[in-house]
């Protein structure tokens, strides 16, 4: 449960810090695909977490 709460705080923090990310993304110029790269990174992280989670336990 503590892990879940920490995760929520982390996500809330990311949400609040997102202006910095948006600034970086807006400065992309012709590299219009920058937001998709961040997105892909998140998916890779989620995939990794899902894999290690399913190795640790049988359920969610």
């Amino acid at each position: 449960m503590y892990t879940d709460r920490l995760l929520i705080i982390f996500i809330l923090g990311t949400y609040l810090l997102s202006p910095a990310i948006i600034d970086w993304w807006s400065e992309g110029g012709r590299a219009w695909y920058r937001p998709y790269l961040i997105w892909l990174g998140l998916i890779a992280l989620s995939y990794w977490i899902a894999r290690s989670r399913s190795r640790d336990s049988d359920g969610l």
């Binding site: 996500i11 993304w25 997105w39």
Partner: protein, 982 residues
């Protein structure tokens, strides 16, 4: 244009027929179960989120609001990236309590029918713009491709078509217990077609318009305004509001809720969806700017909302792909959303308003009501389209629904994470937020001259101009809603049932159920009670189904099991009738008894829930759970029996020693009462539990003909809450039968030993005078000729011989016990018994006695042959004394592996009952005075004990007469080595 309306409608029909075929094949079981339950199917079925708005609206949105369009895809991706935290608890709730919709969750969590009804009404109203958007999108795309001037009749026919297919797809079963596998696979296929067609449009644009990625980069270099148009809206501050709106509304949307939770075929697939669905939407989102730029570069002849069609039209190929993508998105969303909404209306509006009638077929009624509701909802969507939908853009209609969906978010967060949130807070918050939404967004769309009330200026909404400023309305309404929910929840009280439900729903907490006693005592009582509202056939079917789910027998009467049965029935009926109707039905027909004193927590149930929850515990909780397991195991493995009872006398603990002692498994005892245990345990334990004494050190019990001695203790369990009554009782039971037998043996041996010592002394003291008397009597006999004196002398000598015999037996008895010092070999039982018989036949009294020596040849025991001979002489002599000459005395032996049992059986008068207990004590005899010393059997006992054997007696053997002595002696060859070395 090369297409006619008829052709495009036919394509729509063909497409829907194909989807239905997929569903039909799946339901017939022609597709392998592995494929149907594959996580990929689940991921694609969740693609239903991408409706026609994703295909058409997002491109228009990107044109108007630049990169903000990403929020639509990123919002839902964010939700699924956090699926283990956000969605898993909802899935747990929906599967545990058979909750099929958000309204079900609210009605269950806030224990209120009104909460369910209010949520349903708001959801239907809030969804109408998005439903009408789908009709509009298909109708307008047909209009664009064909040049048809009036799309409204196309929308009408499409609406009819969808009604038919929605009924075919989802309203063929009445209960949510049966998942619609066909629907899931069909919707997954729909998503696959949609994504493939949408991607094909993008690829067509990329290669047809730009000649590949390099051409696109070059074009962007030549038109930098295209990129700045994409980036500029990011800086206007609406991004946060947008992402939040799409993030939170993604879960509460009925079609998403339905596919993600209600139709979830494989709970573990949620883990795959946590990365699979974001990946799917990443692909779709990547297509949006490419389609936008392709359409702009090729001067597509459509409005930006329909650029997905425009690209194909401008390049002259593939316009149908855009149409197919839009059609797939619209039809999938319409079917699933209508099914979900019809279920909500049925459970929360129709059923609570119209009482169930036992006379009618419940399942059939439910099915038809649901079909009518599907038609009614789609008719309302069409009505909304005719009233306002046709005149507003897809973006406006979509946003209207997303902001409405936001109004359910505070209630849902409260349900999952805040057990103090109550129904009053929910009503107040939802009504406030929804009113704000209706005043600021819905009414301006439905009625153009509508002016936003000035009072809304107090919360900063005075300059809102309809949907264009929706961002402000979204933020204001959700903040308003959330704050009111929190404040009202804090200041108003909460009912007990609501608190229980809140604990059941809260993430990270385990439901702590209380044990109340049910009025129904048997399974048949359940069927009888439910027959009134459901009809006897349905009632019996539902009860049998619940019994099967719980693997409980029909004959079950334990209160614990009956409570579980009630819970399971409520859960199952909840899938059929919705949680509020189901809860009310159970309360009315299977009520708990009025409470007497405090009810106690159902510890057994908590334990079983903790067992299921084990994998999910971490940190301190996991440590505490390990500690709990350790204590529990200690109690279970304790070598003395422990029973713990709840305050109401229900058995909540029954350890392994109890199982071994009573031969009753804990599965049969937990949850029942002591009175219900089989005899003699029930009477014994119930009397002791009720009695005032806390300790009964020696309690005799006859169990299946065997004598048992038990030591019982009991103690009250102190309540964990101060100033409350005792929490229950613990009874400790120890089997002391072995100890009692050992004590008895010790006492007996001690008595024999002291008698032996006494006998030795007496024999010594009497021996000398008797010898002297015998000498004198001989002298008297020799010296006197008188016949009378000679006779007297002879009698004196006869009496002295008798005294000498008695003294000799005393001496023999006192000398027994020297066995341990001698070395023993094998003793052939048959030969020894035969020798004893031969000796006895020398006695004139026994000369005519018939003996049957049936001892097995080769049966050898460890022992002293002379002393064992003495044993048999004594036993056979006693038997001969008790028997008539005609009745034979039978001696048998039997090899029992470790030992050999010898039986000496006669059919004489038997042993009197009063002597049986003390038969092996010295000086106890059934013979007339002067015939026996009473030392024979004591000597037998002593010799057999010395041989590490046992002797017991059974009398009578045929109910009236006869005696059987059974001697068990260690078999030679198995234990001789160990005995000889002792």
């Amino acid at each position: 244009m090369a297409y006619s309306v008829g052709q495009l409608i036919l394509i729509a029909c063909g497409y829907l027929m194909f989807l239905f075929l997929v569903a039909w094949i799946t339901e017939r079981g022609w597709l392998p179960a592995r494929l149907v339950r594959h996580p990929l199917v689940y991921v694609f079925s969740l693609g239903v989120y991408a409706s026609a708005w994703a295909v058409y609206g997002t491109v228009g949105y990107a044109y108007q609001y630049g990169y903000n369009f990403l929020a639509y895809f990123l919002g839902i991706s964010g939700v699924f990236l956090m699926a283990p935290v956000l969605l898993a608890p909802i899935l747990r709730l929906t599967t545990t309590y058979q909750l099929g919709s958000l309204a079900d969750i609210f009605a269950f969590r806030y224990r209120s029918r009104i909460a369910g009804a209010l949520t349903t009404v708001m959801m239907v109203i809030g969804m109408l713009p998005l439903l009408s958007l789908q009709l509009k999108a298909v109708a307008e795309s047909i209009q664009i491709l064909t040049g048809e001037p009036d799309p409204s009749w196309v929308a009408f026919w499409f609406c009819l078509l969808i009604t038919l297919f929605a009924i075919l797809f989802g309203a063929r079963h009445a209960t949510a217990r049966e998942r619609h596998e066909g629907l899931v696979v069909a919707i997954a296929t729909e998503s696959l077609i949609k994504v493939a067609a949408f991607a094909a449009v993008a690829v067509l644009g990329l290669y047809g318009v730009f000649d590949g990625p390099q051409g696109l980069t070059q074009w962007l270099g030549q038109h930098p305004e295209m990129l700045s148009r994409l980036y500029a809206p990011l800086q206007d501050g609406s991004w946060h509001g947008l992402i939040m709106a799409f993030f939170v509304s993604a879960v509460v949307m009925p079609h998403m809720f339905y596919m993600a939770f209600t139709e979830n075929l494989n709970p573990r697939a949620l883990v795959s969806a946590s990365w699979g669905l974001p990946l799917l939407f990443l692909g779709m989102a990547l297509c949006v700017p490419i389609i936008l730029w392709s359409a702009l570069a090729s001067n597509a002849p459509t409005s930006p909302d329909y650029f997905a069609l425009g690209v194909g039209m401008a390049t002259g190929q593939g316009a149908l792909l855009g149409y197919l993508a839009g059609l797939a998105g619209a039809s999938g969303m319409l079917i699933v959303a209508t099914l979900a909404l019809s279920g909500m209306c049925l459970n929360h509006l129709v059923l609570p308003a119209s009482p169930l009638s036992a006379a009618q077929d419940l399942y059939r009624n439910l099915l038809w009501t649901r079909r009518v509701l599907i038609a009614a909802i789609l008719a309302l969507a069409y009505l909304f389209y005719r009233l306002a939908g046709w005149s507003h853009s897809s973006v406006e209609l979509g946003v209207l629904t997303f902001v409405a969906a936001l109004q359910f978010v505070p209630g849902l967060i409260g349900a999952l994470f805040w057990p103090s949130g109550n129904r009053n807070g929910l009503f107040a918050g939802m009504i406030a937020g929804f009113t704000l939404w209706a005043l600021a967004l819905l009414l301006p769309i439905l009625h153009a001259p509508w002016q936003i009330p000035r009072i809304l200026g107090l919360i900063g909404l005075n300059d809102v101009q309809g949907v264009s400023q929706w961002n402000q309305v979204a933020i204001a309404s959700i903040v308003f809603n959330g704050v009111i929910y929190a404040i009202v929840s804090i200041i108003t009280p909460m009912s007990r049932s609501e608190r229980t439900a809140a604990e059941a729903c809260a993430v990270g907490s385990l439901r702590r159920p209380y044990r109340w006693e049910l009025g129904a005592q048997t399974v048949d009582d359940f069927i009888h009670a439910l027959s009134a509202p459901l009809g006897p056939v349905t009632a019996a079917r539902e009860v049998e189904m619940a019994l099967r789910d719980l693997r409980i027998k029909h004959s079950e009467t334990r209160p614990y099991a009956l409570r579980r049965l009630r819970d399971q029935l409520e859960t199952n009926l909840s899938g059929l009738l919705g949680p509020s109707v189901s809860h009310q039905l159970m309360d009315d027909n299977l009520p708990y008894k009025p409470e007497e004193g405090e009810s106690s927590e159902d510890i057994r149930f908590i334990e079983s829930r903790l067992e299921q929850y084990r994998d999910k515990l971490s940190g301190l909780a996991a440590e505490l759970d390990s500690l709990r397991r350790f204590h529990r195991q200690t109690l279970l493995e304790l070598p003395i029996g422990v029973i713990s009872l709840g305050a109401d006398g229900e058995i909540i603990g029954w350890n392994r020693a109890m199982e071994a002692l009573t031969d009753i498994s804990d599965d049969d005892t937990i949850g029942s009462r002591l009175d219900h245990l089989p005899s003699p345990w029930g009477e014994l334990l119930a009397d002791f539990s009720r009695g005032e004494t806390t300790h009964n050190p020696q309690r005799h019990l006859q169990v299946e003909g065997l004598s048992r001695w038990l030591s019982l203790h009991k103690s009250q369990i102190q309540s964990q809450v101060p100033n409350e009554q005792a929490g229950g009782q613990v009874i400790v039971l120890e089997d002391i039968t072995d100890l009692r037998q050992m004590e008895s043996h010790l006492a007996h041996n001690e008595r024999l030993a002291s008698i032996g010592r006494l006998a030795a002394g007496v024999a010594h003291e009497i021996g000398n005078p008797v010898t002297a008397i015998a000498c004198l009597a001989q002298n008297l006999d020799g010296h006197s000729d008188a016949e009378e004196q000679q006779l007297s002398a002879a009698q004196i000598m006869e009496q002295t011989r008798r005294i000498t015999r008695i003294v000799e037996s005393l001496v023999t008895f006192s000398h027994s016990g020297g066995f341990r010092d001698t070395i023993h070999g094998p003793v052939d039982l048959r030969a020894t018994v035969q020798e004893a018989i031969a000796l006895l036949l020398l006695d004139p009294d026994h000369r005519l006695q018939h003996f049957d020596n049936l001892c097995g040849s080769g049966h050898e025991v460890v022992g002293d042959p002379q002393r064992l001979l003495q044993v048999f002489v004594n036993l056979l002599g006693n038997a001969a004394d008790a028997s008539d000459d005609e009745s034979p005395i039978v001696i048998r032996s039997e090899d029992n592996g470790e030992c050999i049992a010898i039986q000496v059986e006669d059919h004489g008068h038997g042993v009197p009952a009063e002597l049986r207990e003390a038969l092996f004590e010295p000086f106890v005899t059934s013979k007339p005075p002067g015939r026996g010393t009473g030392l024979g059997l004591a000597l037998v006992y002593s010799i057999i004990e010395d041989h590490h054997g046992a002797v017991r007696v059974q009398s009578p053997i045929d109910g009236v007469r006869g005696t059987r002595f059974i001697i068990e002696l260690p078999r030679y060859g198995t234990t001789s080595a160990s005995l000889q070395t002792e």
